[in-house]
């Protein structure tokens, strides 16, 4: 950008900042000055590259070199070697784990190879705090095009034909929603951007707002033009201070340049954007609750219909879209609906960003065409399971979703295929689990979350989910019975059928889906009082550490089941299958040779 010989892009996203990227930037800046290169080298703090696992990340353009895990010390080396002498610092390149080859270019890395970046197009490429960089990559051109060349109806039509569906979880066709809001008769209409990102384990909305805030502002203005709204609200969670800060800067810059506010680009279209902060309530991600929260009240959902498109904020028709949904809008207007519709599957067009987390090697954000298989995402892009453990399941859809096992890894994923196998797209969080995770415990974790987050309005959800959680706790403590499993099933169905909002209606999903795929694990907990993954503490079995056992035979005498065997002065063994975990042996052992595991 400009007359610099080299652009140095350093990630300043939440992930890399936590890995010290601010110090990396400071050191680099100092060293560049010390080398007298400040006129030649353009140091840019960008948003998230997605490859958080390998952060902090530094990318050099036009050399197309991608350094990983850069420390302040190695930043100094990059300046001295690469910038001054033109030599690539091999040690700091990414090493492909299978071939152990050092890879220079981003596009060669398996993590990036299958990605197609639309929503994340500018993340890691531009300085999110500088509107000029956004403009340099065609920023605000889509808005210009809409205002000068298209009628609101044409904008809506383009979005409709693109096949874009809401990325916030429901998958509702975006263009249709815009049209419905436009058709509702009213004096005023509103646009809301849902940046509440409640699914714990999903962080794509945060990355987009941190790395490319203008793309969302621009799309909101376009939506405002299309549906006839004069203001918009961004509802963002308080846990994202960096994103809030970048948004504030972006809004101010857009106003200063006349891209927001009165008479945008000299037309008679005016549009304001306000920021509203969440205060830590998951249910506020649900659209009607969110509206109540913006109005200053308790974020409790209300019954639909009426939908926000008819009666929304301050009782006016309101169009709510998710951050990632908005991030797709400008490319659709600039490159055309046909281009967008050519990507993806028959009913789910375009790409989807997934947040890969949990027990996978390459934790981070990936954007892939709809229809990519889970196997490709987890094993190709994600690099497989950490520490060579065995894959067990992947949870999609967060606390509303379900787990997917090995047998379904080859299904091309889109909204409909995920629902078919008992999970859902949700916001795109993907938590990978390995053999060391206990699925009963995972179900209990999600229920704890929903019980914590339920707003308390309807009984089915407030009391029902609490009961589910109690039963699950009982099972993980080894006090469950087979009747409890039946009760789990029945109660889950009742809660699903009678809850007021999506939170309650989907809360039992993690229970039902883990029961479906891991029934044997539930049975082991209730019948054998055994946790196969070795997680549930109360169900751990005793084990003798051979190196410590002196063979004194004392334990064999106290074991009520008589299942410890071994000869005098030789290491003993406990028959784990039959151990009832009474602890008698541990108490008498004088050598500390008996532990639970």
């Amino acid at each position: 950008m400009g007359s610099y010989r080299m652009d140095v892009l350093v990630c300043g996203g939440t992930g890399c900042q936590a890995s010290n990227s601010i110090d990396v930037i400071e050191t680099m800046s100092k060293e560049i000055k010390a080398a007298g290169l400040e006129k030649e080298i353009n140091l840019v703090t960008t948003g998230c590259f997605g490859f958080c696992e390998q952060g902090p990340i530094v990318k050099i353009q036009p050399d197309n070199v991608f350094y990983v895990k850069v420390t302040p010390e190695s930043a100094a080396v990059i300046v001295k070697e690469h910038f001054v002498k033109g030599r690539v610092v091999k040690e700091l390149l990414y090493e492909e784990p299978k071939t152990r080859k050092k890879l220079e270019e981003q596009s060669d890395m398996p993590f990036y190879k299958k990605q197609e970046r639309i929503a994340l197009r500018n993340c890691g490429l531009i300085d999110p705090e500088n509107i000029n960089e956004y403009i340099a990559v065609d920023g605000y051109q889509a808005l210009g095009k809409a205002l000068s060349e298209m009628t609101p109806e044409q904008v809506i039509d383009e979005v409709k034909r693109s096949g874009l569906r809401g990325r916030g979880g429901g998958g509702f066709p975006t263009g249709t929603k815009w049209e419905l809001t436009r058709m509702s008769k009213a004096d005023r209409r509103f646009i809301i951007c849902n940046a509440d990102e409640g699914d714990p384990g999903a962080f794509m909305d945060r990355s987009i707002l941190e790395g490319d805030p203008h793309s969302v502002l621009e799309a909101m203005a376009i939506a405002g033009y299309a549906i006839g709204a004069d203001s918009g609200y961004i509802y963002i969670r308080a846990e994202y201070p960096l994103a809030i800060n970048r948004l504030k800067i972006a809004v101010k810059q857009a106003y200063d340049m006349g891209l927001l506010g009165k008479n945008i680009l000299g037309t008679d279209f005016s549009f304001d954007i306000h920021l509203k902060y969440g205060a830590g309530a998951f249910v506020c991600g649900e659209e009607t609750a969110l509206i109540n929260s913006i109005e200053g009240g308790r974020g409790e959902p209300t019954v639909k219909p009426p939908f926000p498109a008819e009666v929304g904020l301050w009782k006016m028709p309101t169009n709510i879209n998710n951050v990632e949904t908005f991030a797709n809008v400008c490319p659709i207007l600039l490159r055309g609906a046909d281009w967008f519709a050519s990507i993806g599957t028959e009913k789910s067009k375009g790409t989807k960003v997934f947040a890969l987390a949990g027990k996978v090697n390459n934790v981070g954000l990936v954007e892939v065409p709809m229809g990519t298989t889970l196997r490709e995402i987890i094993f190709d892009l994600g690099g497989g399971i950490k520490n060579n453990r065995k894959f067990k399941a992947v949870q999609t859809g967060g606390p509303s979703g379900g787990c997917i096992t090995e047998e379904n890894l080859n299904i091309p994923i889109d909204y409909d295929s995920l629902t078919e196998i008992g999970s859902m797209m949700g916001s795109g969080g993907m938590i990978v689990m390995d053999e060391d995770d206990c699925m009963v415990n995972i179900a209990k974790f999600y229920l704890e979350f929903t019980v914590d987050e339920a707003c308390g309005r309807c009984t089915a959800c407030r009391v029902g989910n609490k009961r589910l959680h109690e039963i699950l706790t009982k099972i993980t403590e080894g006090k469950g019975t087979e009747e409890d499993l039946e009760r789990l099933k029945d109660l889950s169905q009742i809660i699903k059928d009678s809850s007021l909002c999506g939170l309650g209606q989907t809360a039992p999903n993690p229970v039902l889906s883990t029961m479906k795929y891991f029934w044997h694990e539930y049975l082991a907990h209730v019948n054998d009082k055994y946790c196969p993954a070795g997680v549930c503490k109360a169900l751990l079995k005793y084990h003798i550490i051979p190196e410590k056992c002196k063979g004194c035979t004392l334990c064999t005498k106290v074991c009520p089941k008589g299942i410890i065997s071994g000869k005098l002065k030789e290491a003993h063994v406990i028959n784990k299958e039959e151990c009832i975990a009474c602890g008698a042996c541990e108490q008498v052992c004088k050598f500390g040779a008996i532990t639970r595991m």
Binding site: A18, A202, F203, S293, G296, F449
Partner: protein
Amino acid sequence: MGEYKVDAEKLKKLGDFIEGLEYAEGELINILREAQEMFGYLPMDVQLFIARKLGIPAAKVYGVATFYSYFTMTPRGKHVISVCLGTACFVKGADRIVEEFRKQLNIKEGTISEDGMYTLDSIRCVGACGLAPVVIVDGKVHGRVKPEDVAAIIRGINEDESGEQMLVKQNVQ
């Protein structure tokens, strides 16, 4: 409830803030955020003050304040340690980190240490899932925390603390 005095100067500042707002009633959450920032928590008196200032029932203010987990009605420790209990952090063993902090800070019940120095609470995902498990200490994100790291984190807080005191001393001189 005489033990906490509400600082009159802060209250005045809060009053000014409220008066500066356009649609004050719709801004209740923002007002509570501001108040919590000023006072560190939301004492009953402050909630009453806000209710009267806005001319709405105190029950409404209380209802909103209790609904959102961001708001707290008990004083917080000088240092706030938040352990992320989002899914990504959970599957990477965040519960063990909480246990370790509890043990080392000697917090048995509730969230605050006996000397009032530390608040230990949990949050749900700060979006740094790539670095799970994540702990936030006074706003700074620590990633890939292991139970063995807990002692060092606490030491870090205490060192900052003594550094701060040195600065204060120097300023006094």
